[in-house]
Symmetry: C2
Subunit: 225 residues, 2 copies
């Protein structure tokens, strides 16, 4: 499958590598596709190293290249840059496609731990859906560390939860299949329409505190019921 | 042990009944202690019925009566009424005591589902601690339904998580003992100081959506690690 990933930080790189290893054809989109030697955000390797890692299953391009390439598009940019990255990708390249939104509206400008720059009565997922109405936005995977996202079974055999928020039931059904087939997710809860992204984005404050207290990002929430 | 509970809705009633059944001496505080026949908030029975339920182990009084009685005080009021209830209880009645804050800053005034009237860079727990600096505020239990709060073992044998936030380490240690001994909690995570109450209060939006999707409030989060 042709998959476009927006964002070349550690989240985009890691999901891209997992998807490439599963035989998918990945284009990783970035603002700076020519800077192959530069270190990338949040501890990501350089894109030159990433290209070696994924061999011929992945390429690097602009946000527009990645979106045009993808039958499905993943938004793995920083939340603060997501809307601008999607504008550069272009609405025409997203039209009719599933856009899996993994970003969180973290605001690092006021010190640590970050606050959210949108929350409570709005969400980044909703803003993206509003600005790109022809994309089928499905908010998901934004409540776990990237290593858990891409390989949930390495934590407690996968016995923990991932959430979906989106307005298009068929798109959420398709994303459910992707999460199972691509990554091995087992417990997937559809929370409802895109406004429910408020709930998953607002998990970030406790997630960040847990990271600090537990001393590792290798944890996740399980909805016990 | 003498325990004061502020709030006569279903949360205060249920926790009071559990504590009374464990042999503690409970005073349930309410704005209207004489209205024994009136139905109480969130599906609570009347206080007359509650008094019958707890027999001689519980009494009903004002917020001030409850706080004065308690060696430890539980805030089980609606978040929107918490500060006013605590003012009626009086700082002198809270001085030096552990105040377990179970309330959430839910704003029902803008329709359903409720938003939070404080969040992101502040929390109800912090506001309470700031206004009552001589109380030892420990935010806890606010992330589960009252039936799970008071009897966690009835859900998955108790294999799920409750959180603590507060500035006083000894008070949190004491509350850890209370949660185990009173209710049977097993997995208790100390998130840090009272600012971490932002994280647990901000769990409410996803909690409310999950209630809707799962069709039952009998669930909880487990931090899988």
């Amino acid at each position: 499958m042709n998959i476009g990933i927006l964002g070349s930080g550690v989240v985009g790189q890691n999901l891209g590598a997992v998807l490439a290893s599963r035989g998918h054809d990945v284009v990783l989109g970035t603002r700076t596709p020519d800077a192959l030697d530069a270190p990338r955000g949040h501890g990501g390797q350089s894109l030159g190293e990433w290209l070696q890692q994924v061999a011929k299953r992945g390429r690097v391009g602009t946000f527009r290249d990645a979106a045009a390439h993808g039958e499905v598009v993943l938004n793995a940019t920083n939340g603060s840059g997501s809307l601008e990255a999607l504008r550069q990708a272009g609405g025409a390249q997203l039209r009719g496609k599933i856009l899996m939104d993994i970003a969180n509206p973290l605001d690092f400008s006021k010190g640590m731990p970050p606050t959210l720059f949108i929350c409570n009565d709005d969400s980044l997922g909703e803003r993206i859906q509003a600005e790109f109405p022809e994309a089928k936005v499905v908010k998901t995977l934004n409540t776990t560390n990237t290593l858990v996202m891409g390989n949930p079974r390495q934590l407690a055999g996968g016995d923990h939860t991932v959430f979906l928020s989106g307005n298009d039931p068929a798109a959420k059904q398709q994303v459910t299949v992707f999460l199972k087939d691509w990554f091995g997710w087992q417990d997937i809860i559809d929370l409802g329409d895109i406004t429910t992204a408020r709930g998953t984005e607002m998990l970030l404050p406790i997630w960040l505190r847990l990271w600090s207290v537990l001393g590792t990002p290798m944890f996740n929430f399980k909805v016990v019921r």
